[in-house]
């Protein structure tokens, strides 16, 4: 034992007869094992997606952010809300800035490098739950959505005016989800955080697209996009875990 800290803290003399020392025994067929890895790498290298995944994490995250900005840009070009110019700039900056921070956080988490320790216990779910709570909080903060630029909920049932918004937000979140999955190297929480980023991005584009400001509409048509993404992914994760192993 070369590590001095081992001797400092552990009664080595009494443990060694019980535990023994490192006896790894080695690998009998190192060549075969290496051949297996080389084959896996050669097969993966043929796929263009693998080249994306094997970019440095900073590059992958930058691509993720770029994807998000492109979706936002697309919304501004193709379907901006008619009253965008009337939206108080400080409120718009606060609202979108808060969402942007959450989106960036989700992208960072979704593209976490694999040499970092995996999150365990409550930490696994902390960020997505924080995002959902923050989204509902932002949607319901008094004063944010009751200015001149907002119109109250449209006539008709909640479903009739919330469904098109939810669909729009969900659809524009999909490219973000797909891109993040393409860039993900296989982190166990990659799917969940990608879903979170997609749901948050859906909320950002909806804020730039939809002028309706009724609380029920914002909850059912906007915030629900994130719930569907995150809740759906949690269900999928749960189903995958419950699936009988081979």
């Amino acid at each position: 034992m070369t590590d001095t800290s081992l001797n400092d803290d552990v009664d080595r003399d009494s443990l060694e007869p019980l535990l023994g020392t490192a006896q790894d025994g080695g690998v009998a067929d190192l060549d075969a094992l290496f051949a297996g890895v080389s084959k896996q790498i050669a097969t993966a290298e043929k796929k263009p997606a693998f080249r994306l995944k094997s970019q440095a994490s900073s590059t992958r995250r930058m691509l993720g952010v770029l994807g998000f900005l492109m979706v936002v840009g697309l919304t501004l070009v193709t379907g901006p809300r008619a009253d965008l110019a009337d939206y108080p700039p400080h409120l718009l900056a606060m609202y979108l800035g808060s969402f942007a921070v959450l989106v960036l956080g989700s992208i960072t988490m979704a593209l976490r490098p694999l040499h970092r320790p995996a999150l365990e216990g409550w930490r696994r779910w902390a960020f997505p739950i924080l995002c959902v709570v923050a989204t509902f909080g932002l949607v319901l903060i008094p004063g944010v959505h009751d200015h001149v630029a907002m119109r109250p909920g449209e006539a008709g049932g909640l479903l009739s005016h919330a469904t098109p918004c939810a669909t729009y937000g969900f659809a524009l979140g999909l490219p973000i989800y797909a891109l993040l999955r393409l860039l993900d190297r296989g982190d166990s929480l990659g799917r969940l955080h990608a879903a979170c980023a997609a749901g948050l991005a859906g909320n950002v584009v909806l804020e730039l697209h939809c002028p309706v400001g009724g609380s029920s509409h914002l909850l059912a048509g906007h915030a629900m996009v994130l719930v569907v993404y995150v809740g759906g992914m949690m269900l999928i994760e749960w189903a995958l875990r419950m699936r009988p192993s081979k």
Binding site: L18, V27, V37, I41, S54, Q55, A56, H115, E120, G186
Partner: protein, 196 residues
């Protein structure tokens, strides 16, 4: 170039590989030197295999995880920065894969201990008794919670300092020390009980 010159050149390159530090090999590998990857594999595959085999008690699975660790290392190679140490990197990737495996197999939390603990060897250290002793140690390790077992694996069997273990498992040095102390205390009680 004459064949003997090629052989000599290869021998010099191999000697250089053997002398190189992990980080030098990794840097060479990132720069495109496949021989450096092979050298890293030869250095670390036995360590990772031994570690995961002891953890999972399944040779085939340990082989898979060893291979997958290096596959992931290849995918993540562009993240390696000058000044970083490779060993914690690799061990973290391997440990993450082991944790992922346990998470998937959560229902198999209680490992069957098919060893007759009363039949433990006492004094003689014959080959067979050593094997039985190893089985008892494995069974005792399997009884530990995952978070304590991984710390014992890295501290006792891989001889890593607490600071590095904290880096690998994503915790603080103090928390790792506490986990280790609790685990060693349990192991001592269990294994001493077995011997008696």
């Amino acid at each position: 170039m004459l064949p003997w010159m090629l052989i000599r050149q290869k021998a010099v390159a191999c000697a250089r590989m053997a002398d190189a530090t992990d980080e030098e090999l990794m840097a060479a590998y990132v720069a495109g030197d496949d021989a450096a990857f092979r050298a890293l594999f030869e250095r670390y595959a036995p360590i990772i295999f031994g570690m995961t085999r002891r953890h999972l008690r399944d040779e085939e699975l340990a082989r898979e995880i060893t291979q997958h660790t290096f596959f992931r290392l290849h995918g993540a190679r562009r993240d390696f920065r000058v000044g970083a140490r490779l060993r914690p990197w690799l061990l973290t990737i391997a440990m993450n894969l082991v944790r992922e495996h346990w998470r998937k197999k959560k229902r198999r939390k209680h490992v069957d201990v098919d060893v007759d603990l009363q039949q433990a060897p006492v004094a003689e250290r014959s080959r067979m008794e050593l094997q039985e002793r190893a089985t008892l140690v494995q069974a005792a390790l399997a009884r530990l919670p995952d978070s304590q077992r991984e710390v014992i694996e890295l501290h006792w069997f891989q001889e890593r300092p607490y600071r590095e273990i904290a880096e690998i498992v994503g915790s603080t040095e103090g928390a790792v020390r506490v986990r280790a102390h609790r685990a060693y205390a349990k192991l001592k009680v269990w294994l001493e009980g077995d011997v008696q």
